[in-house]
């Protein structure tokens, strides 16, 4: 597979390390009422879609960027690649 790195252009997927669903960005609030339930869902339950999937890849043998890759799990077609940091900010994460 080839991942079109937003900064570096097309790079072989073998340079990357895969983590999983990009929902791992949405770490729950540790002080929330339902923190235990929320962290369980966050840590263990997945949509695991047969189709478009937003997922986290780390450019280990590259520039050490974490990327959010939108990839179809049936065809492996990649429709979008973003810097995870931008996605995290867009999802309201800060410090």
């Amino acid at each position: 597979m080839i991942i079109n790195h937003p900064l570096l252009g097309p790079r072989d997927a073998s340079e990357f390390t895969y983590l999983g669903d990009a929902s791992l960005i949405d770490r729950p609030d540790w002080q929330a009422e339902n923190a235990a339930e929320a962290f369980y869902e966050y840590g263990y339950v997945r949509d695991n879609p047969a189709g478009e999937h937003q997922e986290l890849w780390y450019h280990e043998a590259g520039d050490r960027s974490w990327l959010v890759v939108t990839r179809n799990t049936l065809t492996h077609e990649i429709s979008k690649v973003e810097l995870a940091r931008d996605v995290a900010r867009a999802r309201g994460r800060s410090k």
């Binding site: 097309p10 983590l19 800060s94």
Partner: protein
């Protein structure tokens, strides 16, 4: 040996003669021959034995689709089983052997299977060999295994080298026949970066096998001219002897270049083969088509071959399987073979054409509407029996029969991403379907365009389309443009032992039995009969099998199903995929700065991840590793020892939010750590399990140096980048690994301060008040070299870790040894390190096994509940905080000399010894020369509350039962007075 079946012409160099051996017998050949063509030229038709019935077999084809003509090539460690004679490029001194026969090719004992074939029908083994049960492994299976298999491995290490490489282009053209060459000319002239790959050692594809002309040139001359032009273009890369094996995601193609297989011996340093990963947005498949057989009784005798193969051997290799040849065809192409062989002086006994309206010929007889119903000749074809239209039969004498059932486009690559070919009635064949790999298009015969003119044209057009070229296409040479004229014909009515898959011995009868027993889908048919599972992957058999199944089910072929193909296109040596990553080079080797020094000292090394670390340093006279390790421990605890701990991960953490960042990463607090201080840090995974531990030293308000365990350095760094970029994107934190930049040594023992005072420059005060336990700072050593000093201890002794730039690490180690002489300093390795940490009760790798929580390890209090940190929430789950969760304890045998076994399980002193009563297990075990006793660490249910209890340590695997006592894990200096001294 005279080449009795050598014809005139052909693309062989008659000026040079090679000699080669087959089954020990010497023959001669010429450059340009394959082993197959050379054997035919020498009148050798019998080459191998079939898989199941050990039937005598010869060549069926002239290409990589060959199912029968397989040999063991070369000798000794270079022996290469199952090598297709049709693809072996002749070299002088070549040696090959027939395989899957005993004692000899002509007289094969297991040929008896053929007589009992009726009992060995498809899937018979599923129905028997069940009684008595024990006999399967002892009797039946060894019998089956000995009979099965084809060639044999040498059982020696493969001495050859293989390379891997990476190439990029605008257009990859797969196959250099008329379509491929024309495509390359079109794209090449337009200036595109082109790679043209072909599995053959001579570019040209079918054009090498044909007698007709292109324009005013012979086909071969046109090829030569095209190749010459292409080689002159700097933007075109020609790759003969290169098989494109697979189309992978996003325009990555695997290709195997055989750089050395045609050489008698490899030049030094050169690879036998190269695995190329070719990256391209566009690829054009010009893989041509494969002729398919017709099934009829005894259609597998040596001498019965594809008609197109006979043509190839005659035209390209100037060889024929026999001087008397018959043809059996359902289409016009079969007649072309007859004409070409006739022109070469071969006697055509007759052309048997199933079509009533077959073309007439005045040079030889054409039997229209006739069929071959049986053949004779055990080790080689002698007669074929033909049924004529009027119902009478006739026997033809011939040494070879060319069979043509039409052509199948080579669609394999189009299926590699699970695309399905579609049925084309006009061709009675599958052609590429819709869902091709992105960027791949198909031209020529592979796309069902069967004429030479059509191939040239579609090659040019497809290349132009792929690259979106505008402007006129190159002129095409005049070429034959015959329409496909055939009557679909798969097998002769009423035949039984008519082979569909010749290598796996699958007959028409087997396919029908498969239907009868309910195995009616393609997948079931293949798996039940093994049709198409042989080394040729059904290139010449799948369609026929489908056709027969279609007929018996009364469905159409596409209704029965399609078979899709998987990589690789042809089998690839496993060594080619491995490349250079084998033996000592399997993984990179990481060496510490003191490695060369330690090697001189005679240190014994151990692999730790990719690192090599000194395990212990034997002295003259020490014969057992324990002597060295015990001494290193004693000397260190008594005075001072030095250990290279460079392998620990070191991560520079800077930025105004660095402290808060570490607060989130570690379970314990870091916000208030003072500058110039170090703190032990416990890192949890989000699931609450301990991920790693290490120290964080605060060199400045906004600058920390974090250490990780050797094993987890990479994953911890990744984890920290994840937190930095994905969880806390606005924190002002910068990370970079400095593991390699600093040579770091642990200097441990009561005299460590004294030793360091001789190394560290005098302006730095190392006294206990000025530089207390857990202090850290920048210093200079040996007269001004920048260094970092940390007062931390893994051994439990007064200890420091000192770091200098790696290039000086070797010198510093030697200096420490020299200056330490007066204190009887010793270097110590990972074993002594391990002993001392167990004596001190420090959890390490074997305790941090990914299933232990802070609570398990006795570090529960470290998990701060006052702040948000990764893992704290999930570490609270009910089962992780139950009263009887495993807790870390020390383990002491009642008899000091009794062995403590890591991996042993702990049982209550009385009561059964079984899984249900398991109390825990031993994680680490060492001999403590300080306590003069074996000791260990273990995880025991509610262990913290059970200190003093006696238990049984059992290890049935190693026949061991030992009485032990649970004690505090801190065997040595529990109050920690030494390290604060």
């Amino acid at each position: 040996m005279t080449q009795t079946n050598r014809l005139n012409g052909g693309q062989i160099d008659r000026n040079t003669s090679f000699s080669f051996k087959f089954d020990g017998r010497s023959y001669s050949a010429h450059p340009g021959d394959t082993l197959a063509s050379a054997l035919l030229a020498n009148d050798v038709r019998l080459i191998g034995r079939s898989f199941k019935y050990h039937r005598p077999r010869g060549l069926l084809t002239a290409g990589s689709e060959e199912p029968n003509g397989m040999v063991e090539l070369r000798t000794g460690a270079l022996k290469e089983p199952n090598t297709r004679a049709t693809t072996i490029e002749m070299f002088d001194g070549l040696e090959a052997k027939s395989q899957n026969r005993w004692p000899s090719l002509k007289f094969d004992a297991l040929a008896v299977n053929d007589m009992f074939s009726n009992f060995l029908s498809a899937g018979f083994y599923y129905k028997t060999f069940m009684w008595p049960a024990a006999f399967w492994e002892k009797l039946y299976e060894p019998m089956i295994r000995r009979a099965a298999g084809l060639g044999s491995l040498s059982q020696e290490a493969d001495p050859d080298e293989y390379d891997k490489g990476f190439r990029h282009c605008d257009l990859l053209i797969i196959g250099a026949g008329p379509a491929g060459l024309m495509a390359a000319l079109t794209a090449g002239r337009a200036g595109a970066d082109v790679i043209l790959a072909d599995e053959d050692f001579t570019l040209g594809g079918r054009l090498n096998s044909e007698a007709f002309a292109l324009g005013d040139q012979s086909a071969q001359d046109w090829v030569a001219q095209a190749v010459a032009e292409l080689s002159s273009l700097p933007n075109v890369r020609l790759m003969p002897r290169t098989t494109v094996i697979g189309a992978f995601d996003h325009g990555v193609y695997g290709a195997v270049e055989r750089t050395g297989d045609h050489l008698a011996t490899l030049p030094a340093g050169k690879p036998r083969q190269i695995l190329w990963r070719i990256y391209t947005d566009k690829a054009l498949l010009c893989a041509g088509a494969t002729e398919r057989p017709i099934a009829f009784e005894n259609n597998d005798r040596p001498g019965i071959m594809m008609a197109s193969a006979l043509r190839t051997y005659a035209n390209r290799f100037a060889a024929t399987a026999s001087q008397r040849v018959a043809i059996f065809t359902n289409n016009d192409d079969g007649h072309r073979t007859a004409a070409d062989l006739h022109a070469k002086g071969v006697t055509i006994t007759a052309v048997v054409d199933v079509r009533e309206d077959a073309p007439t010929c005045y040079d030889y007889e054409v039997l229209k509407g006739a069929q071959v119903i049986d053949t004779k000749g055990r080790h080689g074809l002698t007669f074929v029996e033909v049924a004529l239209t009027d119902g009478s039969t006739r026997t033809l004498e011939c040494g070879a029969l060319g069979v043509s059932g039409g052509w199948n486009p080579n669609v394999h690559m189009t299926c590699h991403q699970r695309g399905r070919p579609v049925w084309n009635d006009a061709l009675a064949a599958f052609v590429p379907g819709e869902n091709l790999p992105v960027g791949l298009s198909v031209a020529g015969a592979a796309n069902g365009v069967m004429s030479t003119h059509g191939a040239l044209q579609s090659g040019a057009e497809s290349a132009a389309n792929a690259l979106e070229l505008t402007g006129v296409l190159p002129d095409l040479p005049e070429a034959e443009d015959a329409p496909v004229s055939q009557t679909p014909f798969w097998y002769v009515e009423g035949c039984k032992r008519a082979w569909v898959d010749q290598q796996n011995d699958v007959t028409v009868k087997d396919v029908k039995l498969s239907y009868q027993e309910g195995f009616r889908s393609v997948e079931h048919l293949k798996r039940y009969t093994t049709l198409g599972m042989a080394t040729d992957q059904g290139k010449t058999s799948n369609i026929t099998g489908l056709a027969i199944m279609a007929e018996v089910t009364g469905k159409s072929i596409p209704e029965v199903g399609t078979t899709i193909f998987r990589p690789p296109y042809t089998p690839v040596p496993i060594g080619t995929f491995a490349g250079r990553m084998k033996g000592q080079e399997f993984h990179p080797t990481r060496l510490t700065p003191s490695h060369y020094w330690a090697k001189e000292r005679g240190a014994v090394f151990v692999e730790v991840g990719n690192w090599l670390r000194a395990q212990w340093f034997p002295l003259p006279g020490e014969t057992h590793w324990r002597q060295s390790v015990d001494r290193e421990v004693r000397q260190t605890r008594a005075s001072v020892g030095v250990c290279d701990c460079t392998t620990l991960g070191k991560i520079d953490v800077q930025g105004t939010d660095a402290a808060e960042f570490l607060n989130r990463i570690y379970a314990n607090g870091f916000a208030k750590l003072a500058v110039g201080k170090t703190r032990y840090g416990l890192m949890l995974r989000e699931d609450g399990m301990v991920m790693d531990d290490g120290t964080a030293a605060r060199l400045a308000e906004d600058h920390f140096v974090v250490t990780t365990t050797t094993a987890n350095a990479v994953s911890v760094y990744r984890h920290m980048e994840f937190a930095r970029q994905c969880l806390y994107p606005d924190m002002d934190v910068q990370l970079i690994s400095t593991t390699e930049a600093w040579a770091q040594y642990a200097v441990a023992g009561p005299n460590s301060r004294k030793l360091l005072q001789k190394i560290v420059d005098p302006e730095f005060d190392l006294s206990n008040d000025a530089f207390p336990f857990m202090a850290c700072g920048n210093v200079t050593v040996c007269g001004g070299l920048r260094a970092r000093l940390f007062r931390i201890s893994f051994s439990g002794e007064l200890a420091y870790e000192i770091a200098v730039p790696s290039r000086y690490g070797d010198a510093l180690m030697q200096r420490l040894m020299a200056e330490g002489e007066e204190f009887d300093v010793t270097p110590y390795g990972t074993e002594a390190l391990g002993v001392m940490r167990v004596e001190k009760g420090h959890a390490a790798g074997s305790e941090l096994n990914g299933t232990t929580t802070a609570l398990n390890l006795g570090l529960g209090k470290m998990v701060s509940k006052k702040k948000d940190s990764i893992g704290s929430v999930l570490s609270e789950r009910e089962a992780l905080v139950e009263p009887d969760v495993l807790r870390l304890v020390g383990i002491k045998p009642l008899q000091p000399e009794d062995k403590v076994t890591a991996g042993g399980h702990l049982m209550n002193p009385d009561g059964p010894i079984d899984a249900a009563h398991d109390q825990g297990y031993v994680t680490s075990a060492v001999y403590s020369p300080i306590l003069n006793s074996n000791i260990g660490l273990g995880l025991v249910k509610n262990g913290a509350e059970r200190l003093g209890e006696k238990m049984r340590l059992v290890s049935p695997l190693t026949d061991l039962t030992v009485e032990v006592e649970l004690v505090s894990a801190h065997f040595v200096d529990p109050e920690g007075e030494r390290l604060r001294a």
